[in-house]
């Protein structure tokens, strides 16, 4: 249950982090000629990424969703300005031929971030995330393909790209189409549907944002003990909204059982939360969490069946379950 409760905030972080952090990456080595120009380019790009990350973090720590939720339009517009400087600096860096597409995709990703934060300054950042989800996804996929193409031309590019991605402290999550489970029919689409449902839930129930962030921030103390009924209702409705969104999606046959249980988990979490007033979610979970535990167990049990259809399903279930 704790895990699924965190999934909501995690999905938000993924989209936001993708907007500031670098793209995904990985490894290699080869001969000298194909990588001509990489050292100077890498030095310039790493320096710029370092500067940009520091400037952006100083403006708004997007890893801290509470801070993001509390961000004023002025702060978000300041972030737009930071991204603007970053884009100008990227323009001034000339990539080697094999990295031109990757460089361009990085800049386009920056353009998208700029548009999203500008939009968020007007309409509220959490209400626009879902609108930018598809474009963000396509941008990530372009960047990933450009990274692979650059590595094919220059194997040393992989080490640089990994270092670039790690400037913000962690590697980005796998991009649909390039994830370990992407070769399994229908799983990328299912993962996208789950992420979208999570974001759409907040659009449907914006009042859930505060309790969601509050609950996900500290597992040692259950903040919900002091919540009022409206806060429980909002969070419960959020999980119900996710469940309703998920019901619109179709899972591949081999994953249908697992997916149905995922919906059941969301729904049972919602119902548990709805009745948690006065005792808190964790205490209610201990005494009345039978339905959630049952759905969770059924979801875990369904992984084995789904693995018959896709060997990489456990990794998918770990990422989205």
């Amino acid at each position: 249950m704790k895990r699924r409760l965190l999934t909501g905030t995690a999905a938000l972080l993924i989209v936001l982090a993708g907007m500031i952090g670098g793209p995904s990456a990985q490894r290699a080595r080869a001969q000298a000629d194909p990588c001509q120009g990489l050292p100077a380019y890498a030095q310039a790009m790493l320096a710029e990424q370092q500067r940009y990350t520091e400037d952006a973090s100083a403006t708004l720590d997007i890893e801290d969703l509470k801070q993001v939720a509390a961000a004023t339009p002025a702060q978000l517009n300041e972030l737009v300005g930071v991204i603007d400087r970053h884009l100008k600096n990227l323009d001034a860096i000339r990539p080697p031929a094999f990295a031109e597409n990757w460089h361009m995709s990085i800049a386009e990703s920056g353009d998208l971030s700029q548009a999203m934060f500008a939009d968020g300054a007007i309409n509220g950042i959490f209400s626009v995330l879902v609108d930018y989800y598809n474009m963000s996804l396509l941008s990530d996929q372009d960047t990933e393909q450009a990274r692979l193409d650059a590595i094919a031309a220059c194997p040393d590019f992989e080490a640089f790209a990994t270092e670039y991605d790690m400037v913000d402290g962690e590697l980005d999550d796998p991009v649909p189409g390039y994830a370990p489970w992407s070769s399994c029919a229908g799983l990328d689409d299912l993962g996208i549907a789950i992420d979208r449902a999570t974001l759409q839930g907040l659009v449907d129930v914006p009042a859930a944002l505060t309790p969601l962030l509050e609950f996900g921030s500290d597992w040692d103390v259950d903040p919900s003990i002091g919540w009022n009924q409206l806060q429980f209702f909002a969070l419960a409705d959020y999980y119900e909204a996710i469940a309703q969104q998920l019901e619109q999606a179709t899972a591949p046959d081999y994953a249908a059982g697992w997916f149905q249980q995922l919906i059941a988990v969301d729904r049972s979490i919602g119902e548990l939360i709805r009745g948690s007033h006065g005792q808190g979610i964790m205490a209610a979970s201990a005494t009345q969490g039978g339905a959630v535990a049952q759905a969770n167990q059924a979801m875990s049990d369904a992984v084995a069946g789904a693995t018959v259809g896709c060997a990489e399903f456990p990794a998918f279930a770990e990422a989205y379950g």
């Binding site: 009924q229 409206l230 209702f233 419960a236 006065g278």
Partner: protein, 392 residues
């Protein structure tokens, strides 16, 4: 999915007007004069029939301003209703009367209206005999000697006592505003180091954020002041000390429908004496609520609470009124008291609040708003835990 509850529809309000007209005709009236006072005070009868809540406080009469904070509906048995508002006017998007007129002097406005509608010598029922300003009453007697204006306390009151499904939905939602205020207050009090005023301020803000139209007051009475059911003012700069009992009372409205919820809590942990007082009060409320069903008398409900208090050896400290109806006004009929013969009917909403008061020591009240169902036990619509001293 949780959503804001829709307001009472215009159709429902027109239906009420028709029912009242028919009842007035059956009672031999030519029409009714229905008086309402400011939104936070006594708007009930008027709002029930018009959806108008006088938006201004009642104010001293002066030249050209007589009746501020009031409004009057003329509902003829034959003919269209006319709403007279004070100079602050009305919300055309909400009010379900086509003919609405603003009058600086409501007395003159009503006299002219009765002449215009040929009702100056009619037999009219007065709904709101207890809130029609005496000055206007005298004006009517002087200017319209042929008019008969009889107090009519039953026709509208009977309809109002039984809530419709949409009214019940609004009352359920209103109780959530009280819950937001009380949970906010309790968290602050339990942590300690706060004044009554600080708690009051945050609690009112929480209720407003939760959708309340207004909060008439949020009482925070700490320590020996908890023995006061209604102290002036609602909160003081007094710091709440560890171990003190704190009586809380949230009163306000959501889309016109009231919430009124008492809770009692403790700063930090209660001692054995405090716990006994609190648990006796909690048990008294539970015992009373358990008696609420369609067909039982109000006295039966009150007796159950009194029995618990006596068994808890607090028989001498019973605080008085044990509850009341609630709806468009905070306090509606019936009053919950021993020997009250009113029979509970499905659709009534009752605030059950038996309280204990040990003068200069402490007091407690724990209030549940409950709906009398068609069958079976009462539906409690106040979600706030009754044992706040154990929450947080």
């Amino acid at each position: 999915m949780f959503e804001d509850v829709p307001p009472i529809s215009a159709e429902e309000i027109r239906g009420r007007q028709q029912l009242v007209r028919e009842a007035a005709a059956a009672a031999g009236y030519d029409g009714l004069v229905v008086v309402g006072r400011s939104f936070y005070d006594r708007p009930g009868d008027l709002a029930y029939l018009t959806n108008h809540f006088p938006p201004f406080p009642t104010t001293v009469f002066s030249e050209g301003n007589r009746g501020m904070g009031h409004a009057i509906l003329l509902l003829p048995v034959l003919g269209e209703p006319v709403l007279l508002t004070d100079a602050r006017k009305h919300r055309p998007d909400l009010v379900v009367v086509d003919d609405v007129r603003a009058a600086g002097d409501l007395g003159i406005g009503l006299i002219e209206l009765l002449k215009e509608t040929y009702l100056e010598d009619a037999n009219l029922g007065l709904v709101g005999d207890d809130i029609l300003p005496a000055a206007i009453d005298r004006q009517l007697l002087t200017e319209l000697p042929g008019l008969t204006l009889e107090p009519e306390p039953n026709i509208v009151a009977k309809l109002r006592a039984i809530k419709s499904p949409s009214e019940l939905a609004l009352l359920r939602r209103a109780a959530l505003c009280a819950d937001a205020a009380l949970m906010t207050a309790n968290a602050m009090i339990r942590r300690g180091g706060v004044t009554e005023r600080e708690v009051c301020a945050e609690a009112i803000a929480a209720a407003m954020r939760a959708g309340a139209d207004f909060v008439r007051y949020f009482r925070v009475h700490s320590g020996p002041w908890s023995a006061y059911g209604s102290r002036w003012p609602q909160a003081m700069d007094r710091t709440i000390e560890p171990g003190e009992i704190v009586a809380l009372d949230a009163i306000g409205a959501y889309q016109g429908y009231g919430f009124d919820v008492n809770r009692t809590t403790v700063c930090g942990e209660p001692n054995a004496e405090s716990r006994r007082l609190l648990e006796t009060t909690q048990n008294a409320t539970e015992a009373a609520v358990a008696q609420i069903r369609a067909g039982v008398t109000v006295a039966t409900v009150a007796d159950a609470a009194v029995d618990v208090m006596k068994r808890g050896q607090y028989g001498d400290y019973f605080a008085g009124m044990m509850g009341h109806g609630i709806g468009l006004e905070t306090v509606e009929l019936p009053y919950l008291k021993i020997d009250e013969p009113t029979i509970l009917q499905p659709g009534m909403v009752i605030c059950v609040e038996p309280g204990l008061s040990i003068p200069d020591v402490a007091g407690a009240a724990i209030e549940q708003e409950v709906i009398v169902p068609k069958s079976g036990p009462a539906e409690i619509i106040t979600p706030t835990p009754t044992n706040l001293w154990e929450v947080g």
